[in-house]
Symmetry: C3
Subunit: 360 residues, 3 copies
């Protein structure tokens, strides 16, 4: 797979010398991100083999979400608030439905039934639902009371909500890493780790961390090139901005953690798969989203309001509901994966056909 | 119960010689359908005793849904799109809440606690939720973007959704019958079968299949007489078309599989009960509904859009949620049945009082 | 804690001699209700130690809900329908999210993991969802068809729904106390009771019941003083009537059963905690609410319609969903408590910032 690294310089050169060849740049950057994501998987796996599944999953989610955070910050500075919001929703849908679905599907083709810790999944599901509630509230407020309420009150609500989310995220880390790590670890997958790494080469911590950092920077760079070319590509191929933001940018921006989650699924390390995919969703909703609200006071032309449209909120709510129902019993098979992918395809259809000028 | 067969010729004669006596025809056809449904139960049970619960449940659902499919196709040809949509929603509500509720209730009066396979129930629930999402998307599109979007886009969305549903249904059959049949079988109920059939007469496959086909045709014929008399009966008794379609037609059209599901519940074969009731819901949402969309291009004056109103979608969403919560732990008792029946009664109240001229 | 009883006469005297010092009266009554709630906890616990967890929980919920019922009836007589509706929703949110959340949180600080009977929780959750569906239906009817439908039809729907709820409540009591008490009892907490009461003083039934009745009357009296001063306090502190009703009145009116649920959580009697908090929710939705609808025909200037706004219904639906997901596995820890409290805080934010004049 390493030959795909050739697309890193190709994307960079194309962007420099042919800045109008949007579609070419776009697909070159897409191809370039695949090996970079793989490098992140590999280095995170080496670190995870020394730190246990919980911290490994957290590391994966953190460094996998770095591209999303960078893309959103750049868009925020340019005042592209709709794209910021679309990328947040899209990242959650891509992790919860597509990455988890593909991991279940491909894992299920290899293993008849796969098992993971249902207690951890329950924690993830309720955190996601908490996050959705905290995103619904300001959105509903903006929709129903936006005209009546004083703008200052709406800002206060947004700020209050951002602090509530950050506190909840802090408590979640405390719970996961300090007080109840046993909810998130799994003896079986730990054993599988050992076995796996005895076979292959064993990286030291400095090499693993250095590679992880380097690959994350590379992923961010390619993501930026992608975003720059996305608008032109959308026009060339007849796709709306919403579709580009929610579906394509989110898949590519999340390729790192998705690839990692899928790779773990194919190795039957389902606890790590679930930890990466759902942990990444939680981090976007509870950490990246409120951080962007706070950052918007510093870098953006006006404060960012977390006011999503009907289609976005409805999609996210239904995705979390079906995600919780599908993954709640700690077992997976290919058909559960197919169900999650089906829902993702249905929602992608909706965003593809949704008119840009219509009310959201 | 066989003396009720007398209502088959009575309904047919009434319809021929007294075509305006709608209420009489209606109730005669209702009475006629009861023994026909019973015949379907009996013949399917004989086949099921040789094929295992999964295929038995599938056969039951297929032949139990034949009347719904025939009714809907006739209504489609006549361009009665609202009635087609109402019959789809009504059939799902009747199976999920009423048939399952009565089966749990009557089974629970006889047995203190009844057990069934929760893994199968989880698959059914997530399939139902997938189906609802796929029905919500075109409905929401029609409501919010119908005025703005090009009609061709809405048609494409409907067609795309129909293909997604049919593919999902194909995968569901593959999962249920080929790769994971162990999720749907139950040793305990298999044993109960054997015991039951040792006592009674044992039909050969030709007799069982022949009876099943004959009874299905009879059920379809009576259902058609019912539909023809439904409008007049509604006017005579002061019930709206929506109520007739969603509540009465759905109960009578689904009498075959409901009777079967309830009979199994009273015999403590809960896996078969759940398989029939929930399997029937899935078949309506994932197979009958998209089939009707595709058929509408051939037989109907214009393409059928799966655009349901608020009340219909809300009812179905809440029904699936409570169905999943009630049946998710693989145990039932009379009170769980009473809960499902209560929700059905509440929704029936809503549709009874809902004004016909109001916005949906 | 008994020294807080001093606030009972203080609140009464303030209200008599300084009827305009609303804020002082308000906080005095708040303080007075704490020891009264504690007295209810103590006496109910003594009764519960002789009757088992189920009846103990039922007694607790009944006498804990007495203040809510009295407040609502007084408000009903005065025609303050919005306050009645707000107090119903607020009481459910306070029990389901705040009381259960604080009990899980404080219990979890003392015990690493706490266990309770998940079968009972599932019954509670589905009853709550049934109740929400029965509250959504008349609300949706009022919103969407209110202008078109004949007022008599809306009244009939309300009355029909009230009877359905009361029948469902009767069946729930039958199930809980007669046919399946084993779902609600717990050997472990029973043993803990015995141990607890061997140490302390053992009240006889007459003393326990007498104290319970006296404390309930006192709680009701203080609650009334509270309600009287609430409006003035709201104006003085800049809080809307909705916020006062849903958040402050509900917390104080439910202090009795909340205190009781929390105390049980800290004693690791989680079955009693869950029984009190969720049982109280069910009693409000299935017993207090329909009783008030029926009572409104006798005491109120016009019939009470159960027509809640979007924010109220949405809050309740999301609260029940997250409550069911959090408590569905029969295990609790401090973080689950923190999640429930977080959702309560988010909803309280919403009601705090929601403009009074805006559409609901």
């Amino acid at each position: 797979m390493n030959w795909l690294f050739i697309f890193v310089p190709i994307a960079a050169l194309l962007e420099h010398f042919r800045p109008t060849a949007h579609t070419w740049i776009f697909f070159a950057a897409c191809a370039a991100i695949v090996p970079v994501a793989h490098l992140i998987v590999e280095s995170t796996e080496h670190i995870a083999s020394r730190t246990g599944d919980a911290i490994g999953g957290l590391l994966n989610a953190t460094f996998g979400n770095a591209p999303e955070l960078i893309i959103a910050t750049v868009a925020l500075q340019a005042g592209l608030f709709d794209m910021v919001r679309a990328s947040l929703i899209g990242a959650i849908l891509a992790n919860l439905l597509l990455a988890l679905g593909v991991a279940f599907f491909l894992g299920g083709l290899r293993y008849h039934n796969q098992e993971y810790n249902p207690a951890a999944t329950r924690i993830y599901s309720t955190m996601m639902l908490t996050a959705v509630i905290s995103l619904v509230v300001p959105s509903a407020f903006n929709r129903f009371f936006g005209a009546v309420a004083a703008p200052r009150q709406e800002q206060l609500l947004n700020l209050g909500m951002a602090f509530v989310l950050l506190i909840a995220y802090g408590l979640y880390l405390l719970f996961m890493l300090k007080t109840h790590p046993e909810f998130f670890s799994s003896a079986a997958s730990e054993a599988a780790h050992q076995e796996h790494h005895e076979e292959g080469e064993h990286w030291g911590m400095p090499r693993a961390i250095g590679t992880l950092l380097f690959a994350s920077v590379l992923a961010a760079w390619m993501s930026e090139i992608l975003v720059g070319a996305a608008e032109g590509t959308g026009k060339a191929l007849g796709m709306s901005q919403v579709f580009i933001g929610i579906v394509i940018l989110a898949i590519v921006g999340g390729a790192a953690e998705s690839g990692s989650a899928i790779a773990m699924g194919r190795k039957n390390k389902m606890d790590l798969t679930v930890g990466i995919a759902l942990g990444s969703c939680i981090q976007i909703a509870l950490f990246v989203a409120p951080l962007l609200v706070l950052a918007s006071y510093a870098v953006a032309p006006q404060p960012l309001a977390l006011s999503f449209g009907r289609a976005e909120l409805g999609s996210m709510f239904l995705a979390i509901l079906i995600g919780a129902m599908v993954s709640g019993d700690g077992r997976s098979n290919w058909f559960k994966g197919a169900q999650l992918i089906t829902v993702y395809v249905i929602l992608a259809f909706l965003f593809y056909f949704m008119p840009e000028t219509g009310p959201q």
